[in-house]
Assembly symmetry: C3
Homo-oligomer: 156 residues x 3
Amino acid sequence: MSQELVFAIAQAQAAYGRCLDEDRLEDWPDFFAQDCLYRVTSAQNIRDGYEASLIFLNSKGMVRDRITALRDANIYERQAYRHVIGQPLITAQTKERVTSEASFIIARIMRDGTTDLFATGRYLDSWRQTSAGLELIERVVVCDSSRIDTLLALPL
Amino acid sequence: MSQELVFAIAQAQAAYGRCLDEDRLEDWPDFFAQDCLYRVTSAQNIRDGYEASLIFLNSKGMVRDRITALRDANIYERQAYRHVIGQPLITAQTKERVTSEASFIIARIMRDGTTDLFATGRYLDSWRQTSAGLELIERVVVCDSSRIDTLLALPL
Amino acid sequence: MSQELVFAIAQAQAAYGRCLDEDRLEDWPDFFAQDCLYRVTSAQNIRDGYEASLIFLNSKGMVRDRITALRDANIYERQAYRHVIGQPLITAQTKERVTSEASFIIARIMRDGTTDLFATGRYLDSWRQTSAGLELIERVVVCDSSRIDTLLALPL
């Protein structure tokens, strides 16, 4: 039971990373529930108890708008990501939701081929099981470093 | 069913990475079918529709020859790899083959201990199920960066 | 059976990495058996057949003492790790123990936000199954690079 659920979450994580890494940004909102929360913050903010977020989107509409804005602006230098996501751990489970946590390492590949270790951290997630599979009610992306500039970058 | 298959692929991926990371290059051909295709290319090539490959080996014999050539030449600086491979996603399945995709990050460790992020990308694989386990009919290694020089390097 | 065991090991690995990455060092000894061995060495040492270790702790008490010493000394610059651990492979299995191997990549995040690829390598583990889950009888951390300075750093 737990093994099946961890498997389903791992598959959803892999699909999520693949979607972003292949620049299929328009498909990214499909991972979220209508009433979702997507938030990017830092470990330091969490430690200090700050509510501040680098990105804060609290509906699927806002998640969609972010992609539209990114595509319209188009002023960021062309870049790609590569996600590698660790095995998820289930941290709580109720009838309505499953919360899980997983480590990530994201490499960034610039147009000229330069590759660097762009971001590391963990996903704190709440998932809802639907007939179509798992959807994210909440994803808090906790970056280990406070140096992340996500103003114009791709979603994590 | 699908969970068992993903598990089997993940185990084969881990064994593949381990074989290369431990410099057991002579065992590397054993992951491939007789009539295999092994190809290394870049995301840019794929986007542009180019067939060009950095490495192109279309039989198990050629896969073996590559290792012999590498060992004979022996002019590359001593180096080791470390693969970390993400959870595979099954992208298609027929009686004859299963195709899957997985992200990878490979670090390179030079003789003097210097470690860098050597390559990131994804494996596009076709597997055949045999009585001895899974074998690769096809592995296309799509590097995110076009800067990869694989002329004399180890297989990815 | 094997799938369940690999799953259990992968979950234990993820929990282990999470414990260290969240700076819950005091919980780290709980992953070990009373009569454990924890050892950090390099691939070069293993190749040369040297028994030398960068860290050598051969009881749970020594594992605990290491954390106390680290906390007391407190002279290392504040830093955090981020583990990403590959799928484990079971290498042997008896009634008493299961041995497994897994690749790791660890990023280090300094106080100022600088992130680098700190260590890569593999865990060579022996696990004992208890009613409370898996515990480590032995963990040999084999770093790919010989440059690792673990004198005052966090456990790997």
